[in-house]
């Protein structure tokens, strides 16, 4: 996992398998960055994620709670289709931005650059 912070946005590039085992480390590191920078937006980039279960949903919902306390938002980009299935079930798409555009990114449209 890599993180980078610039201009109020924290971008978290996740990789590998996001399960309960992996989430512990990810959560710890992301929370350090969130506390330090108080980003107005956190982007989770799923391009290199190969697996995710409900532990990943917990990760996103938990960060959503933290951010919404001060008006921050969460965006998800480049979600592979097999992970989207878990996301859809969770209703997370109602609270985060970007799930539709993640599909566009799959088709090769670099829509993130347009912003």
């Amino acid at each position: 996992m890599t993180q980078c912070y610039a201009l109020g946005t924290l971008t978290v590039c996740l990789d590998g398998e996001i399960d309960h085992h992996a989430v512990r480390d990810i959560r710890e590191q992301v929370d350090i960055s969130i506390n330090r920078h108080k980003p107005s937006k956190v982007i989770f980039d799923f391009e290199n994620v190969t697996f995710m279960d409900s532990s990943g949903i917990g990760l996103i919902m938990g960060r959503y709670k933290t951010l919404s306390r001060y008006g921050g938002i969460i965006e998800i980009v480049r979600m592979p289709p097999y992970i989207e299935k878990v996301m859809k079930l969770s209703g997370v798409s109602k609270i985060v931005k970007g799930l539709d555009r993640a599909k566009a990114a799959d088709k090769g449209e670099q829509d993130r650059k347009e912003q």
Binding site: D19, F51, D53, S54, S55, M61, K85, L89
Partner: protein, 149 residues
């Protein structure tokens, strides 16, 4: 129907074994030549059940997880059992978003199992632990194999 293969494994309830459990069951399932999305569903459901044993049944203090899987020509069954604390109210535990796990859990594990598998049965009691029995029917059988068309 008689099973065509059988697999059993017993692993300690530590989080490093979550990946191991789903890898073993999906490797076993691959003998039925399932579709990629079916394998992904099985992996995810196994991950949910095994994680529940580690977090809830044994509360992170360890114990053993017993996994048993059977292959039939058109389906796979997976039984995941613990000897942990058990579930008082199974119906309530299976409701979407219900969790006793606090802020980091979404309460969606059982919902994932139910929507990714064709059947999920839970047997549990305070002193006997919990057994989750799941079945996935592989559609390949009724949709036909593209190679054979």
């Amino acid at each position: 129907m008689k099973s065509i293969n059988k697999m059993k494994m017993t692993i300690p309830a530590v989080s490093a074994n979550e990946g191991l459990a789903r890898l073993c069951v999906s490797a076993f399932a691959s003998q039925l030549d399932p579709r990629i999305d079916e394998i992904a569903d099985i992996r995810t459901a196994v991950s949910e059940a095994v994680t529940n044993c580690i977090i809830h049944a044994y509360k992170g203090r360890g114990g053993l997880i017993y996994i048993e899987s059977l292959l039939y020509p058109d389906r796979i069954t997976v039984k995941i059992k613990d000897k942990g604390c058990g579930i008082d109210d199974i119906d309530k535990a299976m409701e979407p978003l219900f969790t006793t796990g606090g802020d980091d859990r979404s309460g969606l594990g059982f919902s994932v199992m139910q929507s990714f598998m064709d059947s999920v049965k839970v047997k549990s009691g305070p002193s006997e632990g919990t057994t989750v029995s799941m079945t996935k029917i592989l559609r390949r059988a009724d949709e036909g194999n593209p190679d054979e068309r």
